[in-house]
């Protein structure tokens, strides 16, 4: 376990350094948007890592209800917190990208709306977590974490009812023309996805460990006070 933890830090710094280098030195400059397009790699990488976090919350929720173990509860809570942080950064990087590209910080188009709705749902989960104690907190957060993840596909489908202007990276654009990335851009994106997944793993792991330590301290204090 300790060996795995020790390996995570070099993996994080290595993958992040490589990803940054590829975004600035390896990937070509986009023809229309110019250098501002390079935020795309961070933006998509964070979005992917946020989805991984929410999936972890879902799995941890099921395991919490099955096993009622503190470790699963802490993992679920940690993943939800990290997911909110990463998803919030997706919104922020999206706004930074949107301003020079679309001329506005925000527009009600499907992907943006879906990301915002997801953020609101998981923020609600964090408020719930802070407003409940003990076993109830464990059960309630597991239940809402499961519901929130099951709701994600519906959120994305509902957002597609709105008019879209988001760039289509894979598949076809609204006019039916095939879209695709330059191979160098694709390689950079894949490295960013990997780096952000490692980042997500490190953050969730650290936060869950902190939560478990906090529980231990509270138990020891209670035992001493009794």
């Amino acid at each position: 376990m300790r060996r795995a933890e020790a390996a995570l830090w070099p993996a994080l710094f290595g993958s992040m350094s490589l990803a940054l280098a590829m975004a600035f030195l390896y990937a070509p400059t986009e023809r229309v948007m110019g250098d501002v397009q390079r935020i795309f790699y961070v933006h998509v990488g964070l979005w992917w890592a946020a989805l991984v976090s929410f999936f972890l919350t879902f799995v941890a929720g099921i395991q919490t209800l099955r096993t009622r173990k503190d470790a699963w509860d802490e993992l679920g809570g940690a993943a939800a917190e990290v997911g909110v942080l990463l998803n919030g950064l997706v919104l922020l990087t999206g706004a930074i990208w949107a301003r020079p590209t679309w001329g506005v910080w925000w527009t009600w188009e499907p992907q943006l709306t879906a990301t915002l709705l997801t953020e609101l749902v998981y923020l609600g989960l964090l408020v719930l977590r802070s407003a409940t104690e003990g076993e109830r907190a464990r059960t309630f957060c597991a239940v809402v974490g499961i519901l929130a993840f099951l709701n994600l596909p519906v959120v994305f489908f509902s957002a597609r009812l709105l008019r879209g202007v988001h760039p289509v990276v894979f598949g076809e654009d609204p006019a039916g023309r095939p879209t695709g990335l330059d191979p160098a851009m694709l390689h950079t994106l894949l490295v960013w996805l990997l780096a952000c997944t490692v980042l997500c793993g490190v953050l969730v792991g650290l936060r869950a460990q902190l939560g478990l330590l906090d529980r231990r301290v509270r138990r020891l204090r209670a035992a001493r006070g009794a």
């Binding site: 719930l128 104690e133 076993e135 509902s158």
Partner: protein
Amino acid sequence: MDTRSGKPSAGRWGLPVDEVVLVAEDLWKGFGGRAVLRGVSLTVRAGEAVAVLGPNGSGKTTLLRVLATLLLPDAGQLRLFGQDPSSSGASIRARIGFTTHEALLYGGLTVEENLRLFASLYGVKTTQVEAWMHKSGLWPRRGEVVRMLSRGWLQRTTLVRALLPAPPLLLLDEPFTGLDAEGAGWLRGVLLDHLRAGGALVLSTHRPEEVEGIARRVLLLESGRLIPHPKPSEPNRDGQTPPTILGRDVRPPGFGAALWALLQKELRIELKTREVLPAMGLMALVAIVLFSVTMGLDPALVRSAAPGLLWTTFTFAAMLGLSRAQAVERERAAALAVLAAPVDRGAILAAKATSQFLWILAIELLSLVASEVLLNIDLWPRLGSLLPVLFLGSAGLSLVGTLLGAVAAGTRLREVLLPLLLVPMALPLLIGAARATGKVLEGLPLWAAWPELRVVGAFGIILGAASLVLFEAVAEEGV
């Protein structure tokens, strides 16, 4: 003779004499880092009464709630009637009569309505309700609303609710509290009859003299552990007349019967108290006026914003109804009594959600009338196309809202948490429903709103099914 165990059987439940009814081993339970139970072990046999003494706050209520399977222990083993409560919950709950220091009754219903409700949830015949009301002296009070009862009569009603199905195991939390001398005499007689008939009893008290002549074993709950009390009392059950056996034929209801009984309860409470619908209706009206005024009363703007305005209004009104529905369950901890009954927990959620669905639908129709009059939106010719949208939207909103309402009710922030949980979660439904409503109001046929209806339907099916499954976990937390 009990053919399986080879022991002589006795009592109305056919439990072999000295059969172990309850075994608790090393139970631990804490709240917010404070351990209330610290390794409680207890064995109770058929025909045996155990009294648990302890001052206020010693954990007696927590212990009884854990034994009644209404609270999960943090650690330790519990077996009731030889079964694991986690795998055979309903069949075990059917054999337990539980009271706590709260009444566990619906304040807005009469004594008789409450007892009839719980009789149907335990599959007890209604004739037995009447028999118990006569026996307990409640008959003259049967028409009184529980909220208006004195402490003593409230306690008798609570006890009769627990005794109605004649369960083989009684878990009674300070059962003599509030009873006068005559009431205490009646309860003492009932408990002795129960023990002579082979039933088991665990009762808590902080007054040892109350259990003299009833309890064979007296234990003290101190610092979260059970220790023998220095002065155990012996039961005195000789020379008494055989008990009148009530409540023999108990068959817990199925899903449909439980749902119907609980739905009737919801409708009856609303008919008697008129607390939810008028408040929701007024909220909807206020919201429509507020939106219209803040939009500058521009008819064109109001008309174009009408779908969003209507669904925001429905959501505000629905949240009011959902919050109130949970408040009704919290009053006198009535929900706990329903959760203690041997009914499918899905039926509890379904009944609550069905009543909410009916209230929301009623408010939607009222809002359409108000919009027709105040906003000059010509809705009635399109009502046929609007109804499926309203049905689908209300169904999803009420099912998920009821689950999240139960979650919010179990937190410190119950007043504010429901909107924070429900609105973001229901936004896909609201986007779909508002856009479908917009298409219908534009005069398009219903099938033109198929993509939107698909989203609303998917929300209802996915989140609704998940809510039904997950409610069991929420119910285990006693909310």
